[in-house]
Structure formats: C-alpha cells, structure tokens
C-alpha cells in the first residue's frame, strides 16, 4: 500500500511533537524513521496507526484520503502497529491473543485460528506454540506473535516501533529476514529506530526527525556520518575504551546457584575488583536477570555465597546490601525504578538517608536542582517523573544513586536511549568507577558490552562462561557465544568459572 502523509501537525500542550511532516512511502518499501528520543517518531506512528489523531494534515492510502479514528480503524485499512512494549495479554494463551483482536461471532473458530497461526508461523520459520501462554515468551517471541497477528488481521502496512530493543541477535536476524520477505510481497514496512546500524542494514529509505520536524531523507546506500549529523546536528563517536587496574575485591561470588521457574544456574564464581566493570551478555531470558538480582539480595540464592567488601551477605535482604553500599537499577524504569506521581525532589529526598522527622524543604529543592543540573535531566524539581521522557527518566534514576557506593548493578542501563544519552550515562558511570565503584551490568547491546566492560561473562540458556577480558572479544565472537557457539571446553551445567 502506498502511504502519503501530508502536512501532519500534532501538539501536546506547548510541545509541537509533529511539525508539518510530509512523507511518501511507496508499497514494498522498508522505510526507516530515525531520530533521537522525543524527536516525534512515536507520535507520527501513533497518528498513522490511529492511536491519536493529528491536529491537522491528511493521510492518503493508495491515493485516497482517510481518517483513522482508532487502532481498530487502522487495521481495517490494513495498518498494523507493533509497539515497543508488546500490547498483548500475558495471562492469555497465544491463541486467545489472536482471537481477541478479531471481530466476529460469539464462538470464535479456535481450530481454524490455531491452524492459521501454525501456517503463518511456519511461513516465517517462527517456533510458536498456539497453546502456550504469552507470559512464558521472550520479548522477541512476543514480537513474532504480534507480527503474525497483524498479518492474520490483514495488515498490509506494518509499523515497528524500536523492534530491535530487548531481543537477541538471532531473533533480530530472523526479524529482518521476515521484514524483507514481507516487503518483497508488496507490504509497506515502517521501521522506527534510533539504531543507525539496524536502519542501514535493513531499510530502503530513511527519514530523519528532529524536534518534531522532518529534517532530511536518504536512500541506500546510506552515509552514516550524514545520518548522524541529521539526527544530532553534529557528529558523535563513542569515547575510547579505557581500562582500569581493578583494586580490592568488592564482590565475591562462591559457587552461587540461582533458580527461577525455567532456569537453574549453578556454580557461578567470580571476583569483582573495585572500579571494575563486568558486562553480562546473553540472550534475553538466559538467566542474567535472576543472577544479577541474586547478587543484591532481591532473589535468595539456592546455594553458594555472596560476599560484599569481605562481609558475607548471603541470604540477606536487599536493604542489607544497600547498607553495605550496593545499589540495583532495574530495567523497567516506571515499574520498578521510579514512583509515578512523585516529583524529582521527592525522589531525591526519598533516596537519601533521612535525618530526623521533618523534611527540610529548601535542602531538598537545592539537592534536586543540583542533581538535575549535574545529570542533565530535562525537568524541574517539581516535575513528576512520569512527565519526563525515557532518557531523562533514566538519567534521573542514575541521579538517585547514593554516594559513595561499592557496587552498582544495572539492568539494561541504556535500553531505548539515543546515543547521546547512552554516552552521557556511561560517562557518569565511569566517573563512579574511578572513585572505586564496581559495576555489573546486563545488556543485549553487544557494542555496549564490548565498549564499556573490563570483563564479560556470557549467559546461554542457564549456563555461564568464565569471565573474558573484553579486549580479547570481538562483536562476532561475542555474538557467537550468546548464540551458544564456541563455548570454552564443556559447557555442561556444573562447569566452574
């Protein structure tokens, strides 16, 4: 389907989120939409998929002007959107998820639907079981499910919002392959991302948004430098890797064993020195989450010891770990990290150790102003955290960490952030390392792992590699390890690190 967007405007309060966007996307094209956080990408896609209505402007599908009032309306026109956080129903089975969006009948034809899922999944080589429950799937699989569902509902335009965050490298390859296949069949694919490499590899043409405006378009072959310039108005390169001599042992894990519903991780032993950064790589759901939470008392290890600064804290609570200078920063910012409804000031006051009964309002405000400034959070002391954009929320979360700390545990510290925010956040973290703080972080971004870690451990379906020196690893090698290829020696459970 050919899509024409004509002079789309959208305001949110005083923010001009989409400013006169004009864009043509012919059928069979994979159109990339690039831009940093808050550039207006998501807004534009929400307008196209009926989630919100533009203040003015026109949408033409195959030359005909249409008014899209709701996502249901959009899918009737053949426009399906895949959201960054999959909009599915985790407590329901795949089949139920399929049937939910489908109009028709008091008694849906479950058999036929199951057959359809099966056929569609086979077509794209997805391994999905229609009876499985969605909450047992990884983000990547949920994405596959959503693609199938949209195709099944008759989508001829697929919009994907940041689809490569949170999925593994092999899932990404499969996704790209699928998208190319769909484009060949005449589908229109809109690929929203701030990951340059993904866009460059996949897209036929690219539109770049900055501050609500369409600032430029390009088609293959792309000039990376030029794209970056369009996105950020200047060139950015990742800082040079620099390694630190690790100091005294901050964290020692002895034969740690951790379990969750699906995984059993055993015999993890590692010493982390002061100022050292350990990258934890692996496919999403390979056990990194339970592992890092077991390192700070959020999950009780089945056996083994966790020692922080020579104190045995095994089976102690997270608050005991906090008292010993350990802090955990979760991936889900709004669910676990921040308190919606409270202001930035209230957060900073809350995170500091309290003195006395009454809060010193002036001191709190000063603290907030100072942190906001030094962490470059775009907000005011009285801004509630939910009013901040994702990158600013992440910076606020980082600003909440107490000083001094011995160990910071991070889950996906830069997920969904643009390059600028990523570099900023890592600069701040590296400052901490120079003061002797150790860092253990989970990431599915290979570049990030290699760029910022001193040593790397890799998880693969419940197994863990011994730590690698990051300087000895390459993206290819790490990618292989994550995919379970080239593991040192035997990687059976019980392998010692």
């Amino acid at each position: 389907m050919n899509i024409e967007l004509r002079h789309i405007h959208k305001h949110f309060g005083t923010v001009h989120a989409n400013d006169d966007i004009v864009l043509n996307i012919p059928a069979g094209t994979i159109q990339g939409i690039l831009g940093e956080n808050g550039a207006g990408k998501s807004t534009l896609m929400k307008v196209l998929s009926g989630f919100i209505q533009a203040d003015s402007g026109e949408i033409l599908l195959d030359g005909k002007a249409v008014i899209i009032k709701s996502p249901a309306d959009a899918i009737r026109y053949g426009i399906g959107m895949l959201h960054q956080d999959p909009l599915d129903f985790p407590p329901l089975s795949l089949l139920d998820n399929f049937l939910l969006g489908r109009a028709g009948g008091l008694f849906p034809d479950r058999k036929a639907a199951a057959r359809n899922i099966h056929d569609l999944a086979a077509q794209f080589d997805f391994a999905l079981d229609s009876e499985a429950y969605v909450d047992s799937l990884t983000v990547g699989e949920r994405q596959q499910l959503e693609i199938l569902r949209l195709l099944w509902l008759g989508a001829r335009v697929l919009i994907l919002d940041e689809p490569t965050t949170g999925i593994s490298a092999s899932q990404k390859d499969k996704l790209f392959e699928t998208l190319r296949k769909l484009a060949k069949q005449g589908m229109t694919i809109i690929f929203v991302s701030h990951k340059l490499e993904d866009v460059e590899v996949l897209c036929h043409k690219v539109a770049v948004l900055t501050a609500g405006k369409l600032v430029g378009e390009a088609s293959t072959p792309f000039n990376t430098k030029k794209l970056v310039e369009m996105m950020f108005g200047r060139q950015i390169s990742l800082g040079a890797r620099r390694s630190l001599k690790p100091g005294a042992k901050v964290l020692e894990l002895h034969d740690l064993a951790v379990e969750d519903i699906r995984l059993h991780l055993a015999n993890i032993s590692i010493d982390v020195g002061a100022g050292e950064v350990i990258g934890v790589a692996g496919m999403e759901g390979s056990g990194q989450g339970p592992f890092i939470r077991a390192c700070c008392g959020l999950i009780r290890p089945v056996s083994g010891k966790v020692i922080v600064n020579n104190r045995d804290l095994t089976a102690r609570s997270y608050h005991d770990f906090m008292r010993n200078g350990v802090s955990f920063m979760p991936a889900s910012r709004m669910e676990e990290g921040l308190v919606p409804g409270l202001t930035l000031t209230e957060h900073f006051v809350l995170a500091e150790e309290s003195r006395g009964l009454f809060i010193d309002g002036d001191k709190g405000r000063k603290l907030a102003e100072e942190r906001i400034k030094s962490f470059n959070v775009r907000g005011t002391p009285v801004s509630t955290v939910e009013s901040l954009s994702g990158g600013n929320q992440q910076r606020a979360l980082l600003a909440l960490l107490r000083t001094p700390l011995s160990l910071i545990l991070l889950e996906h510290p830069t997920r969904g952030l643009d390059i600028e925010s990523t570099i900023y956040i890592w600069n701040k973290l590296k400052e901490r390392c120079q003061q002797g703080t150790s860092i253990l972080f989970i990431s599915s971004d290979l570049e990030e792992i290699l760029q910022y870690s001193d040593r790397v451990i890799v998880f693969f379906s419940g197994k863990v590699t011994p730590p690698f020196d990051a300087s000895e690893l390459t993206t290819e090698k790490l990618g292989e390890l994550i995919g379970g290829v080239g593991w040192p020696g035997s990687v059976d459970e019980g392998k010692r690190l």
Partner: protein
Amino acid sequence: MKKINWLNYGFQLAAIVLALLFTTLVLLLAGAPPLQAYMNVLQGIFSSVDDITNVLAAWVPLLLATAGVLITFAAGLWNIGIEGQIMLGAVFTTGALRLLQNSSLSGGWILVIGFLAGLIGGAIWGALAGVLKTFGGVNEIFGGLGLNFVATAFALYLIIGPWGRPGIASTSGTLIFPTRLWLPTPLNIALSPWALGLGILAAVVVYFLLRGTYFGLRLKAVGKNVRAAFLLGVPTWQYSMYAFLLCGALAGLAGAVQVTAVYHRLIPTISSGYGFLGLLVAMLINYQAAWAAPIALFYAALNIGGIQLPIMMKMDSSLSGVLQGILVLFVLMVDGARQRLLEKR
C-alpha cells in the same frame, strides 16, 4: 497557570450543581417538594445552637475517620475495615470504662484510660487487616469487609451477653455510664470541647505527617509504587503496617468519642457509618489533607440536617446520604472529564 486554576474551580462548581440537580431529580421521583426538603435540611443545620453543636459533635468522629483513611490512602490502601476499627475502639473503650467505673480512680483518669484503650482496640483491628494483607495476601478490601462483620458480631455478642443489661436480652445497647464517665460538656451543649480538640488535632497532625515528613513521603512512595519504593530503600511492608496501625488508632479514637461523648454506652451501630463517610470525604477532597476539615464539616452538617426530614416531611433521612454519595460520584466524574478535555487540547 492561573487560568487553569479557575477552570478547575469551574469544573468543581459544575460537579456540585450537577449533584444538586440529580438529588433534586431523586426528590421529584420520590414525590417530595425539593425546595422544601433542602430548606428543611438547612434548618436542621442552622436553626439553633443545639443544631450547630450537633453538627460539630458529628464532625469529630468523621474528622478522625477521614484523617485515618487519608493515611491508608496515602499508602495505597483501601481501608474499608475502618468501620470495624471504630467499632473495636468503642468496644475497648466500653470495656475499660466498665472495668474501672467502680474503682477509686477519678473520672478524668478513667476517661484517659478509656481513650487509650479505644486507640489500642482500633489499632489492633487495623493491624489485623494489615497482617492479612501483608502476610496472608488478602486484599485489604476483602479483609476489612470481613473484619467489619466480625466486629459487629462481636459487639452484638457483648451487648446481649456478658455486658447485657441485667434482666433484659436487648440489642439496644449496654447500660448507660454514670455521668462522671461522660466527656464533660460545658454550657449544657451536646459538644465536648475535648472531643472537638482531639478531632482538630488529629486532622492537623495528619496534614503535617503527610506533607512534610519522611514518614509521609515514604508512605506515599509505597502507595504509588511498592517495588520502586523498596529499591529506594523504604521498608515497604512495615510502612503498610504503620498505615493500618495509625488509621486503626484514629478510628479507635473515633469509637472512643462515640462512647464517651455521644452515646455513653455501647450500641451495635456505634460507628454510625462515619468510617465509610470518611472514605467518601477523602475521595471527594482528592486525598488532600488540607481540605479534610471543611469538607468533613460539610458532610457532618448534611448528616445532621437530614435528621429534620423524617420529622418535618415524613421523609427518610437518607436524602443526605444520597447527596453525599452523588456529590463524590459527580466530582470524580467531572474530574475525569476535565482531564480528558484538557488532554485533548
């Protein structure tokens, strides 16, 4: 900024007008002349010194209950069990007074002990809901509702059984206490300045507790996002328990006031619905403690004013209840509409 404020007041005014219109409709459907009904309610509030003191006397337990649920609401908890907590407060106070009424202690000391007992009784009942919630995984709404029934049954048992009036098996109440165990009411009015002071003090304390203390901030954090609060270092389940304990204690004091200043005995309906009304007030003021006192006063006035209806017009006094409930519904509804409208712009 200013403009938005005026707009908000406009919306709230609209809610009140709508609530009045709807109540009028209910009156018309019931075949009662609305204007006369409203006049009677107003007369019931303002026509004499007695009326005004009655309103203030009703204000005290309502204020205590509202202050209590403001704490649990801050912690994200729906303390439906507040009715039972008031009841248990009343039971404990009655128990203490009965135990000590023949002792050599002065009336004043017995009253002090009675109030402390009420506070403890309410807190225990609150803590029970809290334990069910934090350790048993029972939602506080269901736990509280169940505990309300248990509290009523317990009070009934005491009134008919061990604390029954000699020779009579009646649910109407226990024997009236001697006047030295009544909270003193000077000038022959129905209002005890001690109770009034207690109610106002509670509202002020809760206002400052929620506004400017670490305790209040942590409570709010727990209420808005337990997981984040925990990661930020707040001992979360403890704070939920504190909220239940404090709310229960305030509700217990309301029960003590009902026994010592209003009924001077234990009756099965001693909580008089002030707990539920307190929940309504807290919702109406959008959990802003600063508004607790005036709005609770307004609701207490409606309660007292409504008593005129059966006397003057042979109508049920529940008209006030209708207006009270409708008002909350319309304010919530209009607020929802306001948010949608402002968002659209």
